[in-house]
Symmetry: C2
Subunit: 478 residues, 2 copies
């Protein structure tokens, strides 16, 4: 593989001032035609251009899920409340956000805030013997949580996600599966969305309500804050005990199954948009871009340019190409297609026809290049690949440049008042201490990252010995 230069680099300060980020985001996703506001409070509409991104994720991640032998199914959106209260920690975590459903005869249930409580009573019926294991189920569906402050893709009263739920006979297999699904998410972020989150384990305080432990991907936003973009939970036997999911083992004994659950929502789209966008609007990674190349004929009233533009689309039929024949001035068309984040633009005018060439414009770097028609396909392939890799490199560099090793509480608080970023330091592992840090600084322990060096140290806050045997990451939540 060719070495690539990281191009079009953007510091957090450079193009999008931190406090303007939400404003930029809300404006761009609407103007680019991704979303609109729904009629009910806290809901959004995915317009075709926005839904195409979700379809891209469904297709890529869906294939990975199938390859792991997980089967798609569909469970009801409404669950009677009594099933939600079986796992005590679980209910505490979700109860405030319940949306209840009222029919002719009164309340019939709650809209699923996640589907453990919907699925596991059925798992309990279906799993009888070791022969029924492992059971691996996935569902793409809508999820409902009564959010007070809503934000498109990030926090809405209804959102779309994929949730996997697996049951295994033994703890080791279950543990492996947790990491396996997290790896699958990592692959989707890196290869498809060109986003590079940090993966690790959540602290006891931050884990999923009812889980044994939670693993997570934490993406850094351009303002240095952290966004949890996926989770894979080891539920241990917490839920199988609450929902009585037992199997008869080969040795004739009844045993509780070990379980995982793992989810990936449309929040990933929000993370991708924030990670790559610039002042001109979206920048979509070629692998997910619904339109990879827009061809703009500079017609000047000449029909042969339009024909030529269509020929280019035909020649580039292995890519997702659109010829923009909108009746606007070229400048207007450039603006609109840049806003939409289309990775490559091909301009073709009467003079290019004479010279048997086109102009190729790179959305990431803004570079313009004359390309002869003979070289076009090769050049386009190369450019799209460069943009995809360039975006991922830039995402990695953002995290690297803004992850700070912190040794003192003073430095810790100062960074959180100022430039933000991920703060790499030691923590004692005590929940009270973690809560105190959050109260004083609004920063939370995002994760105990995988792949860090095993080191000893003392807690940044209380000075007690760290229990994690490595550094951890603190950051403010986006």
């Amino acid at each position: 593989m060719k070495e690539i230069e990281v191009q079009g680099q953007r510091s957090m300060k450079e193009t999008l001032e931190s406090d303007q980020l939400s404003e930029w985001y809300n404006k761009v996703i609407k103007e680019a035609g991704l979303v609109d506001q729904g009629l009910a409070r806290g809901t959004i509409v995915l317009r075709p251009y926005g839904f195409a991104l979700w379809k891209g994720i469904q297709s890529y991640l869906g294939n990975s899920i199938q390859e792991k032998g997980v089967e798609d199914a569909y469970f009801p959106a409404i669950v009677p409340e009594k099933f939600l209260t079986k796992e005590k920690e679980h209910i505490k975590g979700f109860a405030p956000e319940f949306l209840r459903v009222q029919g002719r005869g009164g309340i019939i249930g709650v809209l699923r805030p996640t589907s453990e409580a919907v699925m596991y009573p059925l798992f309990s019926k279906w799993i009888k013997s070791y022969k029924d294991l492992p059971l691996k189920i996935n569902q793409w569906c809508n999820i409902f949580r009564d959010e007070l402050r809503t934000y498109a893709f990030m926090r809405t009263s209804e959102f779309l996600w994929q949730e996997g739920h697996c049951a295994f006979a033994n703890s080791e297999e279950n543990e492996e599966a947790v990491m396996d699904y997290l790896e699958m998410y990592k692959d989707t972020f890196e290869k498809l969305l060109a986003v590079s989150p940090v993966f690790g384990k959540k602290s006891e305080k931050e884990k999923f309500a009812g889980a044994f432990y939670t693993t997570t991907g934490e993406a850094m936003m351009p303002n240095g804050k952290a966004l949890q973009v996926c989770t894979s939970h080891n539920l241990g036997t917490n839920f199988s005990k609450a929902y009585d999911i037992q199997y008869l083992d080969k040795d004739g004994k009844r045993k509780y199954v070990y379980q995982t659950s793992w989810g990936f929502s449309w929040r990933a789209i929000g993370a991708m948009i924030l990670t790559h966008g610039d002042k001109k609007g979206l920048i979509l990674p070629p692998n997910i871009a619904p339109i990879q190349i827009v061809v703009i004929p500079i017609r000047d009233g000449k029909a042969d340019v339009e024909k030529s533009a269509k020929d280019i689309k035909d020649r580039l039929n292995s890519f997702r190409v659109k010829v923009d024949l909108t009746d606007d001035r070229p400048g207007q068309l450039y603006y609109k297609n840049e806003l939409k984040g289309i990775p490559l633009r091909i301009e073709i005018g009467p003079r290019d026809l004479v010279n048997d060439q086109v102009i190729l414009v790179d959305r990431l770097t803004g570079e313009k290049e004359n390309v002869s028609n003979d070289d076009l396909k090769e050049k386009v392939t190369e450019k799209l690949d460069l943009i995809q890799r360039g975006l991922l490199e830039r995402s990695k560099k953002l995290v690297e440049d803004n992850t700070h090793d912190v040794d003192s509480w003073q430095e810790f608080t100062q960074l959180l008042k100022g430039e933000q970023g991920f703060l790499r330091t030691y923590h004692c592992g005590d929940r009270k201490c973690e809560e105190l840090i959050q109260e004083e600084t609004k920063a939370t322990l995002r994760c105990i990252p995988y792949g860090y060096e095993q080191t000893e140290g003392i807690c940044i806050k209380c000075g007690k010995k760290s229990i994690y045997g490595q550094k951890v990451l603190f950051a403010k939540a986006y």
Copy 2:
């Protein structure tokens, strides 16, 4: 195309007595692993084998929808009630079945019983000029209606469907589109599901609440009753006036758009199951069967038979093949795979290995045939094609054999007391008269079929002249 014999014919009386049909249905769909009961009243769970059928429909019908230039989008499931009340007929039709959603601050809306009211306020924002037309949107989603009597796939409080919503500048284009989408549904029923509904227009009494007119597909169930399996509505300007969807035309005038909406739900799966099944269980048309061929090694402890079974799967890799290695007696395995409706079974035992052959068993006819390994691929292709076509022919024949031309009221009532079927006769077109027929016989006017001869006649009930210029179909609803 080779002439095919209609095989494995089943009269309504023969294999499934009419009153046993529901019992058979509920038993088979559960035992075959398609569905289970949901936790909330009136909901069902689609297990992987059942959901694979819905995925098959999504893939086939989804491609057709894309090819028509309709784009997928996603709109919220919750809609504030005030938007539902804009079209007066529409609200009257759905209000009793509303499921309301209650959040922290009280009722926030209704769960979509269909999405006209969710989408059209946004259409009103998005459509400004003739340049924005046609607007063609589709969504695959869950739908909620508070049903009193529920029946898997047919009538549940939550169900899955696809709903298309299009807006056009002129009435002719809109009218063409209505038929175009109905044709698409017909193609899906015939080519994928091997079901042959009768297509036609609904009467004023039976049309969709708020529509200008409704077109429908009416499938005949084995007990001679009718099941509405899809609809395509011409909404005219009824909704664009209620939701103020206007565009600025080329002539500088503001005009209301013409609209269609069209839906296809998982009820189609129910219709398919009832149409094809027999005493042994499901019979799935090869084009939609998640498993087209099951290979059963008759091992007698010999490992080479198992290897051979796997080789067959490899050789037949253009089909959906499963090798059943479950540790049961062959008889048990046959029973289970027949119940699941797998179109073809390949049996292979030690003696077959010696003779370089297998036994091929046809789920539709029950025929067994020795097939040499050299001919296997060709034979399997031919058999699957025969089964697919045979099922469609049988479905067509069921409708033909049980559609009765009826000239007298006495005959009409007698047939409805006895053998049922579709009753082809004249009707005056008067709503009161139609209501009277329903009261006295429970039969409804299912549709005014397309493709019937233009003829004059007098109403079967009141003797007035028919307004339809052709015969119509009455039947009891399944």
